[in-house]
Symmetry: C3
Subunit: 155 residues, 3 copies
């Protein structure tokens, strides 16, 4: 395994997006003790929200999974910043919170959020196995299809 | 009080469900330091989601409370696994996150989630008194009426 | 800066609401280690939920921001109780969870929740800079326009 988080992601054929800068009075991540709390990420790349719309309506599950994966890559981009890209500092992914922009009656939130969960395990191995909650919400910032936030434990 | 969590639950006339195994790359709970993060639980028993539908639509508040109680029993089943069923290891319930599958305008989320909150206090006494958030969501996995996640402090 | 949290808030021209007492088996805040978990707050003053309704429908963004600010003041009222109003005990705001009562397609959750984020930084300075998630939900307790919960680190 690569010793850097960005290197590990690259080995797998992915690219960490440029970390977004929140245009507001909040920050991408906060460290408290050994926990890193990462702000909710939408599926953003080069400043654009790539996946928009609503599951159970105009977005299908496979597209939702890609959206969740891109949220997870944005999470890892911020985690990389939090640990100076040093993969050895990452103890584990503690929790993912998955919010799916979803129509009433949509029931495949777990499948959608697997797009983020699978990436965590692909990148971090057993350290990527996390607790999570997946729910359907009525709307999301920038009309994103998915938003994911995270808590990590670090050394 | 019984010394085991399952025993304590049984004393009160409830039964811990068989803990669900997530069919994905996440786990029912993660320990970080003295905190246990428990994944969002739907009102599941014997592999079936028992309470489905939407509050403010086809599910009434009383049924929603039963759903929340069953979510809480599933949470305790996983907590039991996390502490080897040793009740003395449980310091307290720190937080419940209550997600109610709810129609626009529904405003009784607190009453619904009390089904989970009351069970925590019934089982754990003062250690069961927690912080919480209760919100209405547009849809939930398996069309569950309620989903609840949790954070506990343990020894 | 004032040495009390209530004094600091008053210096800025705001007033901490009387802290609400949850009418249920949960509590306004729980301390675990150095973290304070604060229950979800609606925009309440003198026992009334002041801002009700749905963004993208009958509530505009500016009103939503005022609602989020009032949620944040309620959060600070409980934080004040948790630290005996001693501002020096507050290490930082770790996380805000922002839930906006929002119609499908509404995409300005970040602007709305800035009403809470800006207040945190106004009151706490750099210690107020937090991670956050902002999502749109289908409904909220008491038909509130916004609900916000929080995690703080204290000494």
């Amino acid at each position: 395994m690569s010793e850097t988080l960005s290197g590990r992601v690259a080995e797998l054929g992915y690219t960490l997006p440029d970390p977004s800068s929140p245009a507001a009075n909040y920050v991408p991540w906060v460290r408290s003790g050994n926990l890193i709390f990462i702000s909710g990420q939408v599926p953003q790349k080069d400043g654009q929200c790539v996946y928009v719309g609503r599951l159970g309506d105009d977005v299908d599950v496979e597209t939702g999974q890609k959206a969740a994966q891109l949220c997870a890559l944005n999470i890892l981009a911020h985690l990389s910043g939090a640990v100076n890209d040093d993969l050895s500092q990452v103890v584990r992914c503690v929790r993912l919170g998955g919010f799916v922009n979803a129509a009433p009656g949509f029931d495949k939130q777990p499948l959608v959020i697997n797009g983020a969960s699978d990436l965590m395990v692909e990148v971090l191995g057993d350290k990527g196995r996390h607790s999570r909650a997946a729910v359907g919400v009525s709307s999301l910032p920038r009309n994103a299809a998915v938003e994911v936030d995270a808590v990590f434990e670090v050394k």
